[in-house]
């Protein structure tokens, strides 16, 4: 099964670009979800949970989601997953925290969450 990854995490992009398809977007976490949703509407299937990690969506600015490379019929499970993720995003209030340059830890966590799926992804 082919997969592509949608991310706003440069750490992941720098590490894996070239090894597999990395669709990097310099946008917010919520906008990543919207991009994923549009892909789902186009027939791609979500492979990793968009709400991965216990770090809350108003806490981490970074998000990585794997989807299928191939397009198929609209997958309703994927639709409800990503719609649920967007709704969850909107439920958490804006915390107005300036992490400054200290976002590396968030990038690392996101990378680690993404990598935890890689072994299984590659097995199939």
């Amino acid at each position: 099964m082919g997969f592509v990854v949608i991310t706003n995490n440069t750490m992941l992009k720098d590490k894996y670009d070239g090894e597999f398809d990395v669709l990097y977007h310099n946008v917010s976490l919520r906008e990543i979800f919207v991009i994923v949703r549009d892909k789902v509407h186009a027939g791609h299937e979500i492979l990793t949970h968009p709400m991965s990690g216990s770090v809350k969506p108003n806490e981490t600015p970074f998000k990585t989601v794997f989807i299928t490379k191939e397009k198929g019929k609209l997958n309703m499970d994927s639709v409800s997953l990503i719609e649920g993720a967007i709704a969850t995003c909107d439920k958490f209030v804006n915390r107005d925290i300036d992490y400054g340059s200290k976002t590396e830890d968030f990038q690392l966590i996101d990378l680690s969450l993404a990598e935890s799926a890689l072994a299984s992804l590659r097995a199939f």
Partner: protein
């Protein structure tokens, strides 16, 4: 499998020249402990402090809480596969320093969370305001990677807890409690008329700071499997989880798993407690399908009538919880699930990320978004400046209603998700929501 737990009630902790348990008092030689921790070259500095119930003390950011225990009889040793060899635990006799806890504290990543208040409003929400806490604050050598840092603090906590537990090995316990799980065939003969019930324990397994270890195995790499409930009491399951303070299951929670204890209480009376199925909460959706298929399959293999399913964490695990519930119900096995809620500050949002009609019996540990004011404390163990308090989950830099989390007088306004163990999803607390 049969385990006897001997509770040695600890009434006080003091630093002293000789580490020992005497007359219900735990004496600790600080230098010995420091030496023990400093054996790891990743650790640059370490200090210990004591926090007692009712004191004006705030501990933050908390990583893990561990109960000191020691194997007195039987096979294996405390924290198998991690601190000791993998030989099976859960049988024989184990001593517990009841009322004492080792709390590991220190910032591993920039946003790490977890507050324990020993008194005041916040104390009501964390069970660790009621324990005598030996707090370890450790820092790594410069340039240590987060993975190595987490591991070093995790291991140091376990070592300290084991060292302290060892002090109770030859002390006579105040109370003994016996827990026994007969094998499948005997169990059926013993209680032919009671419903066969098991516990499906979901473990946090998503990646860095989100991991759980079983006999030293990173549980995300395992399929669902079976474990005796008494093995869990002997430290077979360890937390490597540092985020989501309110609903992370610390090692202390695992050692004292309340579902295990309450199922044992009902065992032979209203249920036949068959055992525990442990499963994971991976990020990859196919892993979720596989693991929940296996939980359901094992539940059917065990000929169960009912299960309780508990989860750990927020968002992603809701999906595993609902999958487990749906698939087990589909086998004709009744379920009750335990969760917590993120219903928004006003309690008006959808509580869970996933839902299904099959989940018609839910126990909740409360709404983690509820806002609370934590009064100022005379003493801070760890660090409670703006870089910690405002950035923890549930904290804020500036908020139209509440301003910044950390006030000039040291008081804090946060969502209760910042408090360690506040909305525990094993059902450890009395707090709930309707």
């Amino acid at each position: 499998m049969k385990l006897e737990l001997g509770y040695i009630f600890i009434k006080d902790i003091q630093f002293g020249n000789v580490s020992k348990v005497e007359g219900g008092v735990l004496y600790v030689n600080k230098d010995e402990l420091k030496k023990l921790v400093m054996e790891d070259t990743v650790i640059a500095s370490v200090d210990f402090d004591i926090a007692k119930p009712g004191e004006s003390v705030r501990i933050t950011p908390v990583k893990d809480v561990i109960e000191p225990r020691v194997k007195v009889e039987g096979t294996g040793a405390m924290f198998p596969g991690m601190l000791n060899k993998v030989e099976t635990v859960g049988n024989g006799k184990t001593h517990v320093l009841k009322g004492a806890a080792v709390v590991t504290c220190g910032k591993i990543v920039g946003f790490q969370e977890g507050i324990i208040d020993m008194s005041g409003e916040g104390a009501k929400y964390t069970p660790f305001s009621e324990t005598l806490n030996l707090v370890m604050v450790a820092d790594p050598v410069e340039g240590t990677k987060q993975h190595d840092h987490e591991k070093a603090i995790r291991m140091a906590g376990l070592k300290v807890a084991a060292y302290i537990g060892e002090l109770g090995k030859n002390v006579k316990a105040d109370e003994y409690h016996t827990f026994e799980t007969p094998n499948m065939v005997e169990g059926m003969k013993l209680y032919p008329n009671l419903p066969r019930v098991a516990y499906v324990l979901m473990l946090q397994t998503q990646g860095l700071l989100h991991d759980t270890y079983v006999y030293g195995v990173d549980m995300k790499q395992s399929i669902s499997t079976l474990i005796y409930p008494t093995e869990i009491m002997d430290g077979a399951i360890l937390s490597g989880n540092c985020v989501s303070a309110c609903d992370k299951n610390t090692t202390y929670h695992h050692q004292n798993n309340p579902v295990v204890h309450d199922m044992f209480d009902a065992h032979g009376k209203t249920i036949n407690f068959v055992g525990v199925i442990i499963t994971n909460e991976n990020v990859y959706l196919m892993d979720k399908e596989r693991s929940s298929d296996w939980s359901a399959k094992m539940a059917a293999m065990l000929g169960l009538d009912g299960v309780i399913i508990s989860q750990e964490g927020f968002g992603n695990p809701d999906t595993d919880l609902i999958m487990n519930c749906k698939k087990i119900e589909a086998k004709g096995i009744k379920t009750v699930i335990i969760t917590d809620e993120y219903a928004g500050r006003d309690g008006k949002s959808q509580s869970l990320a996933d839902a299904d009609v099959a989940a018609n019996a839910v126990v909740t540990g409360g709404n983690a978004n509820e806002v609370i004011v934590l009064g100022s404390m005379k003493k801070i163990i760890g660090k409670a400046d703006t870089t910690v308090v405002n950035t923890i989950a549930g904290g804020f830099g500036s908020d139209p209603v509440h301003g910044a989390s950390l006030k000039d007088d040291g008081s804090i306004i946060v969502e209760i998700q910042a408090i360690t163990g506040a909305t525990n999803e094993l059902g450890f607390n009395k707090m709930s929501a309707r």
